[in-house]
């Protein structure tokens, strides 16, 4: 670390002398103070919550070289470990298609079946790679090489006394060749040496994972196609385990019409309910893999609250998405997605073991309850009013997600059903004043409840001179089991943008919280009552 910084300093110094350096600087500060509520009816609690989360990214550019560092100060954290350190650093050479970086970086191989590294701060998820990252890109060949380590902090253990940190040494390469006009073929191999901490801090379970990958791609103006398959071979002691993943899509595009059909078949670690209880098992899909979820990514708040959580170890499904614009002012979007497990399990009570039962057409999702079926239908219409920045948008969504509890005697089928109607209006009165209003109404049936309850969210934002935003969010529910027994939440917000590149915002009030998810990763955000502040700037 110290040697690396010394080299970095010398590098900057030598360049500074010539004064030909350019730079880019960004700051991100978030802070809050208030109370957080936890628990459910009968087991309620409240705790003081304060957080201070700051980081700054500095990047320097000199001819074909660039270098960067990130300094982070997080104490107390909102959802991460305490930090006061330089958490990122790199030096990069980039010249007409060839790029080599030493230090921290992220990487994506094709659609992420074998490798998709990213950071999501709100989830406490970070798979940045420290090591070597090389790319070569031309019109006919794309080549990637990575070699480095990931120290992955398991997000669900962040606030425990002993956060779980898994260590991966990754070595991987991938090549993509344009074999004919519009056609390309690619192949890659990722190898990982894994160290998983055990209950005793000094003992690690070691394993090796091989992820060979092949894909075939066709792209033209009106038709796209991709088929991507990866195998997973896991070696632990003397035993091997195997898994696989397939992702494919076709897309037809016309002038006013676009249709995309996606398919997934993820079998990275088929496990019975007993084995599944160990969510950190070494054979699972590993955190550096993040394939497409193949269901709709929503923009409305209530639709993001209880999402389908993809079981990457055992799930098949597809998604149909259509955009249609009959005229310049009207846009429609239709989306249908469905998924299920490949296998169901029956409990053999005599021998106390699980018997595996395969879905008859295992490539396609089943709607039988034993296979944890999921489906969602979404339809959205948007109409642009006369002024081009004014619009009205309305949608309707129905989602059904069944969890089948094979062990339960009386309640095997545990549903989560949601029906949601969001409406959004944006109106530009004149150049100095605009308004954004949205209303989201939602009816939910969530096990163990037997009846639907109702959620409603109203949001109002007034914008002055396109720089000052004043608004608020009001939410209420008929659910009797909210933490702290609350049924009503109100937050007021003020935001100001200074010089187009500094955004300051402050909010005060109570927030309902809920589940937030990204790419199949989720965490529960607890209800919060208090003050939040943020400042984002780019120089």
């Amino acid at each position: 670390m110290k040697i690396f910084l010394l080299i970095l300093i010398l590098f900057f110094n030598s360049i500074l002398l010539s004064q030909q350096i350019s730079y880019s600087l960004s700051n991100n500060l978030r802070a809050g103070t208030g109370k957080e509520n936890f628990g459910e009816a009968g087991f309620l609690g409240s705790t003081n919550k304060k957080y201070f989360d700051y980081y700054t990214d500095l990047k320097l550019f000199y001819n074909d070289f660039s270098a960067g560092i990130r300094y982070e100060y997080v104490n107390p954290p909102e959802y991460s470990l305490i930090k006061n350190k330089i958490s990122r650093k790199f030096i990069e050479y980039n010249n007409y298609g060839f790029k080599a970086r030493i230090g921290n970086s992220f990487k994506l191989f094709e659609r992420g079946l074998s490798l998709n590294l990213f950071e999501n701060r709100s989830l406490g998820f970070d798979t940045n790679l420290e090591g070597l990252n090389i790319d070569y890109n031309s019109q006919t060949i794309k080549w990637n090489l990575i070699w480095g380590t990931i120290d992955f902090v398991e997000p669900t253990t962040i606030f425990t006394d002993n956060p779980r940190i898994e260590n991966y040494l990754l070595k991987g390469t991938r090549i993509e060749i344009n074999i004919r006009k519009n056609f390309s073929l690619s192949g890659g191999l990722l190898f990982s040496q894994n160290k998983f901490p055990q209950l005793n801090e000094n003992i690690f379970l070691e394993s090796k994972t091989y992820l060979p990958e092949v894909s075939l791609k066709y792209k033209s103006t009106s038709f796209d196609f991709l088929f991507n398959i990866v195998n997973k071979i896991n070696k632990e002691n003397e035993s091997n385990s195997y898994g696989s993943g397939i992702y494919s899509y076709i897309s037809f595009i016309e002038e006013n019409f676009g249709l995309t059909l996606e398919f997934k078949d993820y079998r990275f670690d088929i496990a019975d309910p007993f084995k599944e209880l160990n969510q950190f098992r070494s054979t699972r899909m590993l955190p550096f893999q993040n394939p497409p979820t193949v269901h709709k990514e929503h923009t409305f708040t209530l639709l993001t609250r209880y999402p389908h959580i993809v079981n990457f170890n055992d799930e098949t499904g597809f998604q149909l998405d259509i955009f249609y614009s009959p005229n310049e002012r009207t846009n429609y979007n239709f989306n249908f997605s469905t998924a299920s497990r490949h296998f169901s399990f029956l409990l053999d009570k005599t021998n106390f073991r699980f018997v595996k039962n395969q879905n008859r057409f295992s490539f396609f999702p089943s709607l039988s309850n034993e296979f944890n079926p999921f489906f969602e239908i979404y339809f959205e219409g948007e109409y642009l009013l006369e002024k081009s920045e004014s619009l009205i948008k309305a949608a309707v969504n129905y989602r059904s997600d069944i969890y089948y509890d094979v062990v339960s005697e009386t309640n095997k089928v545990q549903p989560l059903k949601q029906f949601t109607i969001p409406i959004y209006l944006q109106y530009l009165f004149n150049e100095k004043f605009s308004l954004k209003v949205s209303n989201e109404s939602q009816w939910i049936l969530k096990y163990p409840k037997r009846e639907y309850f109702f959620n409603n969210l109203i949001s109002l934002q007034t914008v002055f001179n396109s720089n000052l935003t004043i608004g608020g969010r009001l939410e209420f529910t008929t659910n009797n089991d909210e933490p702290n027994g609350d049924k009503f939440w109100l937050v007021s917000e003020i935001g100001y943008r200074l010089n187009t590149n500094h955004i300051f915002s402050i909010s005060y009030g109570s927030e309902r919280g809920g589940q937030i998810c990204s790419n199949g990763l989720c965490r529960q955000v607890l209800p919060f009552n208090g003050l939040r502040f943020s400042l984002i700037s780019n120089i």
């Binding site: 970095l8 900057f12 500074l16 350096i21 350019s22 730079y23 880019s24 600087l25 960004s26 990047k59 320097l60 550019f61 074909d64 660039s66 560092i69 330089i86 980039n94 010249n95 790029k99 992220f106 994506l108 659609r111 998709n116 890109n137 519009n182 792209k219 033209s220 103006t221 796209d224 991709l226 899509y249 897309s251 595009i253 016309e254 002038e255 019409f257 676009g258 249709l259 995309t260 993040n290 394939p291 497409p292 193949v294 923009t299 998405d321 259509i322 955009f323 614009s325 846009n331 150049e431 100095k432 004043f433 396109s466 187009t500 590149n501 500094h502 955004i503 984002i536 780019n538 120089i539």
Partner: protein, 161 residues
Amino acid sequence: MYRLFLLIILLSTEIFAQNSLIKNLSAEDIDGNLVNISSLNDKGLYINFWALWCLPCRSELKILQELFNEYNPKGIGFVGINIDSPKSLSKVKSFISTQKISFPILLDPNSQILNSLNGQNIPYSLLINQNGEIIKIRTGYNAGDEKYIRKDLDDLLLNSK
């Protein structure tokens, strides 16, 4: 001690620093062609980062199409860089086609370009002059911003040779 030394160096860097430069950045467009971003720059270039899940981004795209029609003949290039991750990436082309966006759209599914330009939130836009220097950074988009973007583009044209 070495941290203090580093801090001093960084502070001095700011003093000496000039405008940021865009160089050697390239990405695939929605048809799979590799595009060097600086090749789109004539008298200036407006770079806009967006994603399908971002409502303000979608509003800004419509405005940018109008500005593209007006300013591209005068020599200013426009490029949209989509940062949708693999979960929504396959729908981008379909969306772009129905919205009749005619300026180039590049794909940055791992946010590598966004990160290299220090973007944190989207929409995030950069205005580049003909020397490749960043002369304006815009974070976020509100209805009414069109007037300010237009003014920035007019200023850029006035100052270009």
